[in-house]
């Protein structure tokens, strides 16, 4: 049995826990406002809000319901457009603003934008123009060219400027952003007792953002353990000089962590390059590692931190030793990652992340690369360089890292390291680019590291 709130209704369902929330709301509950665009989290037409009780009130996040198993809805408040529509055909401020600015043409993607922007209202992010645009970075529209949507979003940000509904849902209700029944959601959610299972069976599913793209049909009925909201697998904290991250920490968790912000001054701009808001809200760090995509952004990022992964078996391993070959892991079939950690960097720490794809945002990298080092008097130490899209695995560039250690940065060093990089990589031609291009691109991005960092 999966129990959750769907709009103003308590749902208890015995349907497979692997069924997507999208199919559930559309075809089992006849809530047809949520649309199907791509079923792979790339268009945002199926965006819903997911409310999770936290220590200080409910936190609503936008998620793509096409990649979300029912299991991840357990104990949550799932909100579709029907759950925010005011009575008598009236409009919420978000809806009104989209109408006023002509932000809807064919209408098929529109509800996704409505939900993302409603999520923006309920969140505690800065209510400015840039953040309002950021809130819809996972929503694709083919008709409007987005300018009208930008204007609508900016108006919403302006109207809400200085207001924080995050810890004060009642004021959101007063402002008409959500209906009255939201006031009672928190207490209703706390009454739902999640079913606790401590045994791991079948595949471990985090946010589902990769598995539901790779094998959507199988996932519906496949036996699985859903860990996205597993309490012991969350959290980002400093322990004994290391930054320790729970396996099911999402990219958004990283983005919002003060500890991470302290270590990475450019965290926001770098993580913005990684997928989109709804996907970042679902995708877990360990999921990205285990997926073993040769272009996994977070994997490349953490390779350059020389991170370590810890398994439930108690074993641990440097991330760079985790990949044996294409989608082949140094991991027992029954083992799963519980924690990820890296040494909290000291003085002179530098980090950079570069990524180029066909579309700068909400795209999969053609090539991505990260670098970290410490610099003292021009000399580099503790150098770690990684790259994706240039080998069958997300690649730790060990020779390049070694070569750079102790060097001072100069045009000659960069040129010479490029030679070393060339010897370490083996890109192939595919839909994301030719092998020659990837080779050239990595060389350029490697150069960009030093332009950005120095």
């Amino acid at each position: 049995m999966t129990e959750f709130l769907l709009n103003d209704e308590t749902v208890e369902t015995g349907l497979p826990a692997g069924l997507t929330v999208l199919d559930f709301v559309r075809y089992k509950r006849n809530l047809k406002g949520t649309k199907i665009g791509c079923r792979e989290g790339d268009c945002g037409a199926c965006t819903v809000l997911v409310g999770e009780p936290t220590a200080d009130g409910i936190r609503y996040r936008s998620m793509t319901s096409c990649l979300m198993p029912l299991a991840n809805a357990a104990g949550k408040h799932i909100v579709t457009v029907e759950g925010i529509n005011p009575k008598n055909g009236e409009l919420t401020p978000v809806q009104e603003s989209l109408v006023d600015h002509g932000g809807t043409q064919c209408g098929f993607c529109t509800v996704g934008f409505v939900m993302s922007l409603t999520g923006f209202c309920l969140d505690d992010t800065e209510k400015d123009q840039a953040m309002s645009v950021s809130a819809v970075d996972g929503n694709i529209c083919r008709c409007t060219g987005y300018k009208s949507i930008e204007r609508a979003a900016a108006e919403i940000a302006k109207r809400l400027s200085g207001r924080d509904f995050r810890k004060n849902l009642e004021s959101a209700v007063k402002a008409g952003v959500v209906p009255k029944y939201f006031n009672g959601i928190e207490s209703r959610l706390r009454e739902i007792k999640p079913e606790i299972t401590d045994k791991t069976t079948g595949a471990v599913v985090g946010g589902g953002t990769d598995l539901y793209v790779q094998k959507p049909e199988e996932m519906v009925s496949e036996e699985a353990t859903h860990v996205l909201y597993s309490q012991q697998l969350r959290g980002i904290e400093e322990i004994g000089g290391r930054v320790e991250i729970g396996a099911s920490a999402t990219v958004t968790d990283l983005l919002e962590s003060q500890l991470m912000k302290d270590v990475f001054p450019d965290l926001f701009f770098h993580l913005k390059l990684v997928s989109s808001t709804p996907i970042r809200n679902m995708a877990t760090l360990a999921g990205n590692f285990v997926n073993a995509s040769p272009i996994g952004d977070m994997t490349v990022w953490f390779l350059a931190l020389d991170a370590k992964v810890v398994f439930d078996s108690g074993r641990s391993l440097p991330l760079r030793k985790f990949y044996r070959g294409y989608k082949e892991l140094e991991k027992d079939a029954l083992e799963s990652i519980t924690r990820i950690s890296f040494v909290k960097p000291g003085k002179g720490f530098r980090f950079n992340f570069e990524k180029v794809c066909k579309r700068q945002y909400l795209d999969i990298a053609t090539v991505n690369t990260a670098i970290s080092f410490e610099e003292q008097d021009g000399a580099l130490s503790k150098v770690h360089v990684s790259a994706g899209g240039v080998a069958p695995i997300p690649l730790y560039l060990s020779k390049t890292s070694e070569y750079l250690d102790g060097k001072t940065i100069s045009a000659a060093t960069i040129r010479a390291s490029a030679e070393v990089i060339d010897s370490e990589i083996s890109p192939i031609s595919d839909v994301r680019g030719s092998a020659d291009y990837k080779r050239l691109l990595l060389r350029q991005l490697f150069k960009a590291h030093f332009i950005e960092v120095i």
Partner: protein, 754 residues
Amino acid sequence: MKNLDSSSHVRGESIYLDDIPLLQGTLFACVFDSPVAHGQIKRLDLSRASEAVGVESVITASDLIGENEIGGIVKDEPLLADTEVHFQGMPVAIVLADSEEHAHAAAKLIEIEIEEFEAITEPRVAYRKGSLIADPKRFILGDSERAFVDCDHVFEGRADVNGQEHLYIETQGAYVIPNENGGLRIYSSTQGPTAVQRCVSGVTAIPMNLIEVDVTRLGGAFGGKEDQANAWASICAVGAQLSGRPVKYALHRMEDMRMTGKRHPYSADYKIGLDRHLKIKAYEVVFYQNAGAAADLSLPVLERTLFHCTNAYFIPNVTATAYSCKTNLPPNTAFRGFGGPQGMFVIESAIAHAAEKLEVRARILQENNLIDSGEEFPYGQIAESEARTSWKQANEAFDISTLEEKAREFNRSSKYFRKAIAVQPVCFGISFTKTPMNQARSLVHVYTDGSIAVSTGAVEMGQGVNTKIAQVAENVFSLPVEKVKVHTTNTLRIANTSPTAASAAADLNGKATQQACEKILERLMEVAGELVEGGKETELSIRDGEVFRDDEPTGLDWVTLVNEAHLRRVNLSEHSHYATPGIHFDWSTAKGHPFAYHVYGTAVVGVTVDCLRGRYTVDFVKNVHDFGKSMNTDVDFGQIEGGIAQGVGWMTMEEVVYDDAGALRSNALSTYKIPDIYSVPEIVETKALETERQNLAIYSSKAVGEPPLMYGLGAYFAIRSAIRAYDSSLSPEFDAPFTPEKVLMDLYGNPGGE
């Protein structure tokens, strides 16, 4: 006025195909499509699929009651492959099952053995092998061969432009319900209800009068559902006919991308000649269109490439030849601009080439050769031109040379970033180039409560056509628009419709609606003349729901008038027909006056290229656009912004990739990228051209659907200029789109580069 659907859109209450409530007993279809691009079917084993859970039946070509043919213009496309397959994604069999999941699972159990033949994916290869859809088409003006002799400068080159996936967010689909007497009721996500009706009639052998096609709205189409909705409706229709049960098929995204055609890729050779005053005197161009495996709409698309091969320029001597080349890709089809944008890309490439060699700015050549009123297009129509006025107003409004100077200044101070500007004039003809298609009908009912129902042949797909039609009724009857409802597009109410395409739906259906409303109003005013004292002697009019005599209200209100008319047995309905006057075209001479009018405009496009990483941003697209006299600025400005984004996408990141075996590699949203909110131009500024010129558009409000897409061409040429601003020795090939890969490879990919 906002699009009338806006409120139901934002509340998620608008109904699309997949939202129609299901009838009991509905079956779900899934197509099994060819995994091979070209070959002969040796064995097709349906046994495992037929026995799979929930499967009702599996249908192949031999089961069809009607003809196995869906080609609309050329009869060259079977609905289901029979003996041979001609592209990867060609439907072979239809599985009907009790659920979508069961239908999909069963389709995977079908086994096929195909003897593979050589697959052609490139149009020039098809041309060399003589694989053509039809004889070539040619436009000739003057004598280009002789004119080149007198030219001071002659340049020859090649230009390639790739296709484009429509990526309507609502995929293709249909829902067909069997009716009594062997009839069918069809819900289809189509731009062409009549095309669906005709096509279904062919494959089922059911006469058209027993087939009802009904369309509420589409979740985007852009030409992709003009002809290519037919197959899915036909598949469901055949299923419904054979099973006697309702059949639905809403395609999954990857099925849609794999099985449907896209914008036509073109390869072209050009030769351009100029005199010493930099006037273009002669232009020769040969187009090789990649039609895909069947004609579909390729021939009219090819024709429009010719119609727009000189864009907004006057060239006195033109020889333009176009070959529609048959390849083993899914049949390519209509896409906003309908071949025009490809023709324009080639002339713009030729001009950029000439400018580069002559070491002048392209915009000097462009401006120098804009077409003036009274000059002739290669197809014989005489221009009533706004090319120069829109250019001039754009220059006044946006100050092109200052924008250029700012870019140069930026470039001097940046090591890796380069800015550049391109100017993009556009001239686009409005009307179906096939003259008989320029007709439409509208059915208007006035009910006794005073409310009005309108039906036309236009299909609403976000472009706001129903809003404009409601405005027409609102305007003629002088009633609040809330009194007017524009209903679904239905072949029983409006027959023999042209598809909603060619930017012409508001003009054609709007004019028909205007006529219908005026006829009803005329009859009502006659009744009013009897009801109002002295009404027969003076001019009566209706204003805000009341009858006026001269400028005085008479106290006779709309509802009373309507009821009085009804009691007098006056007809409160009208079915009116409109045909665009004055247009004609003769293919035997390739001359005529095919367009009711042209739409003009000029855009200034600015880009910044990151020459370290090969990325770029489009900073602005500022344009002066010829709306005529816009009847709905909300809708029209929205079309400009959307069209620009789509045009920029086509020229930059949208890359359709087929491999040599004809398999689509860019087959999902993860591998085919359309603009997101961050990649559209940061600034889009649109100003309306100020002109007093009359035109044939509805209320003089010119068609706006397609023309703005072509402003996007400027993004390509601006990126190219920025690369040359970084390294003036470079001369990138004309090969759109300008993906980040091409930018970086153009910058450094050649030996001798950095």
